[in-house]
């Protein structure tokens, strides 16, 4: 009940005309960036992060919520219209969604996605409101050993589950950890790996790394491939996004099933919302086959509804674990954590006591953002496709100028521009050789937490490593971790065996 009153207060602070304007601007900008090919929601947040610093914290986070959800909407819009998902979480939506668009049902597909995202997001936001304070209370019993376990869990789970090569995932993670140790050590004040460069004393800024890896690296990749692989085809969508009663009834159970799959994944850091979207898609596919309808492959509305709902449900609960535990489970959440730190706020159990206005305002703005988006997306979805009419050269040129603007505006130093270029080139190399980028972001964000909590734990126990597994929570964490890794290894092995089997039959045929 207390949560409800706090939320109403939150609505009170979020519903000022100025903040409503920020939500609207955020939704628009987020969707605008999200619909650009190759640019996902995390890129939207990264690009617009420096601009929010001009606002007061509440306004900035409210705008952020808009950008975040807007970016997610934009991702799936493009996944459906152009078969170019902006983000891993929209990949599952391309399978049936793009087929729907191809068969001339693009507006219905967009409406299905929009309503699915709305359903998933709404239900998870409601849960967050009641769950987050409990999660925060629960997390106060976390000590250094538990935090280290949690960080380790996030590290291993992301790098092993997300990528198709565990080695590459781990390498990306370690790179992130390495970037995070540069600068003055927070415990002892020792200078580390700065080579005496004063700009490095504060460490390498997360904003620089994010923009470099996600945005600039992508620009370089497009430049390196555009002449060879220009294949992007436009699909005209026209008409009103209108779902018939029958279609709505058909999609409804899929929306709900997708939501329930997505919800728990936001709290478990297994690398953002890709996993639940694929699980939801797989479930619908299996159900479809069992019921004998065999709609899949021909543009099944359920095959689009479920992953959309799952993806946004995960996003909502991911926000809960970011706010209550200070644990970012996706690249986007990692960037938001950086934004909190920019304002001198540390997400985690104490945030609810220290800055209740901000937290509840942010939660309230989730609801507002979602409603604004539904209003924006249903009628304007066909219009968004028009953004693609900007020729690629000018589109990416504009993006690059915004990148350097964002970095120079936040740091005011040319050194950071060189840093941006250097890390951007590394980001390009990683894309070129299929090395996942999300583990790097997670490593960089959680690296300091892992280090300080590990050192604190060992310090207080006098160097006894047994302290790391001495509490029930840590034991459970490590057991779940072993289970997750074992499960993904098992799945991968089964997949490989199946692929081998297919190859054999191909050869026979």
């Amino acid at each position: 009940m207390e949560s409800l009153f706090s939320l109403i207060d939150g609505f009170g602070s979020a519903l000022t005309p100025m903040n409503l304007l920020w939500v609207l601007v955020g939704c628009l900008l987020g969707t605008a960036v999200g619909v650009l090919p190759g640019l996902g929601s995390s890129m939207a947040v990264a690009l617009l992060l420096p601009m929010t610093f001009a606002l007061d914290p509440t306004g900035a986070f409210i705008m952020f919520a808009g950008v975040y959800f807007g970016g997610l909407f934009g991702d799936s819009t493009m996944a459906i219209l152009m078969n170019t998902p902006g983000q891993g979480s929209a990949i599952a939506s391309t399978f049936e969604g793009h087929r729907m668009a191809k068969s001339g049902r693009a507006p219905q597909a967009l409406a299905t996605a929009a309503i699915g995202a709305f359903t998933g997001g709404m239900i998870s936001s409601v849960l967050v409101v009641f769950l987050a304070p409990a999660l925060a209370a629960f997390s106060t019993i976390f000590g250094p050993a538990e935090y280290f376990g949690l960080a380790l869990f996030a590290f291993i789970a992301t790098s092993s589950v997300v990528s198709d090569s565990v080695l590459k995932g781990l390498a990306s993670l370690v790179l992130g950890l390495a970037i995070a140790v540069v600068g003055i050590d927070s415990v002892t004040g020792t200078e580390r790996f700065t080579s005496g460069v004063p700009e490095l004393f504060d460490g390498i800024s997360l904003v620089t790394v994010t923009v470099a890896v996600l945005a600039l690296g992508e620009v370089f990749r497009v430049a390196s491939r555009l002449r060879r692989d220009p294949g992007a085809m436009l699909i005209q969508s026209s008409g009103r996004p209108f779902l018939s009663g029958r279609e709505f009834r058909e999609a409804l159970p899929a929306w709900l099933r997708g939501t329930s799959i997505g919800l728990p994944f936001g709290v478990v850091p297994v690398g953002g919302s890709e996993v639940p979207t694929f699980m939801a898609y797989g479930l619908e596919r299996r159900l479809d086959k069992r019921s004998g309808r065999n709609q899949f492959g021909k543009g099944a509305i359920r095959g689009l509804a479920a992953p959309e709902a799952a993806g946004n449900a995960t996003t909502g609960t991911a926000m809960a674990s970011l706010l209550a535990l200070g644990l970012p489970v996706s690249a986007t959440a990692a960037i938001m954590l950086a934004a909190f730190q920019q304002y001198g706020l540390q997400p985690g159990p104490l945030l609810f006591d220290r800055a209740p206005d901000l937290v509840w305002g942010l939660l309230a703005s989730f609801f507002i953002a979602m409603i604004v988006l539904l209003i924006l997306n249903l009628p304007f979805a066909p219009l968004w496709a028009k953004l693609l009419l900007i020729p690629k050269p000018y589109l990416y040129a504009g993006i690059t100028v915004f990148c350097v603007l964002g970095i120079y505006a936040t740091s005011n130093s040319v050194f950071d521009l060189w840093m941006l270029l250097g890390i951007g080139v590394v980001g390009f190399v990683m894309r070129r050789f299929d090395i996942p980028l999300a583990p790097l972001m997670i490593g960089m964000v959680l690296g300091p937490l892992a280090e300080t909590s590990l050192r604190d734990a060992l310090l207080s126990s006098g160097g006894n490593y047994a302290v790391l597994v001495s509490s029930p929570i840590t034991i459970v964490l490590y057991l779940v971790l072993v289970a997750v890794v074992g499960f993904s290894l098992f799945g991968r092995m089964a997949q490989r065996r199946k692929e081998r089997g297919n190859v054999m039959t191909d050869v026979d045929g």
């Binding site: 080695l167 491939r225 000018y394 690059t400 100028v401 521009l417 060189w418 070129r432 590990l454």
Partner: protein, 212 residues
């Protein structure tokens, strides 16, 4: 994803192994778009599919930089253990181990990128030197480098316009005059909105007597 041992995805891989040019193999000839073949890359002997060694090299180079830093680190005698070198030691070890493992993996199984499908008749039969389009990439990377050099001396408007033009050029735009006008318009608009309206501190150019 596509390894040479996997016959289903071998259209690109085969080109690398059995000679400089291989007749185009079209996996789905039934598709509506006229598929004229797959992209061809020049054979590079042992290096074919092993360019990925660049990444472990970067990893090892960074690890070496950190190892040197580790020894040069000025740690007070009385710090609490585990000290500031504890975590970096773990990271450096992991970086070396992973660099070696990834390198071994690439040496054992060369990894070719997924080749593009050629739909433009003018592109058929062209054998590219490398998978990445280096001349264009150079325009993009060079553009950012030039921007970083010129920002303070020339100011935001000129250097950002130059950057815009370089990136547009790297994406294949050849209308020089139009691009430069558009670039100047764009950078001026950004300067007005961010530099003037939002009071972001953008340099106006030393040679014009402006400050930083």
């Amino acid at each position: 994803m596509s390894t040479p041992t996997n016959p289903t995805g071998a259209s690109g891989a085969a080109a690398g192994e059995s000679g400089p040019v291989i007749p185009a193999h079209t996996p789905d000839a039934a598709a509506e778009i006229p598929v004229l073949g797959t992209e061809q890359i020049r054979e590079r002997g042992w290096w074919t599919g092993r360019a990925g060694l660049l990444f472990p090299l970067i990893l090892a180079a960074l690890a070496t930089y950190m190892l040197v830093g580790q020894f040069m680190m000025d740690v007070a005698e009385d710090v609490d253990r585990p000290g500031p070198q504890f975590m970096p030691a773990l990271i450096i070890t992991a970086m070396y181990v992973l660099a070696v493992l990834i390198a071994l993996d690439i040496v054992r199984r060369p990894q070719l990128p997924e080749m593009a499908v050629v739909t433009d008749p003018a592109e058929v039969g062209k054998v590219h030197a490398r998978y990445s389009d280096w001349p264009r990439l150079a325009w993009a990377i060079g553009g950012v480098a030039v921007f970083a050099v010129l920002l303070v001396p020339l100011g935001w408007i000129i250097s950002a316009a130059l950057l815009f033009w370089c990136i547009a050029r790297s994406m294949g735009s050849v209308r020089v005059l139009f691009d430069i006008s558009l670039a100047l318009l764009f950078s001026s608009a950004v300067y007005l909105i961010f530099g003037v309206l939002l009071a972001v501190d953008l340099p106006s150019g030393l040679i014009f007597g402006g400050g930083r």
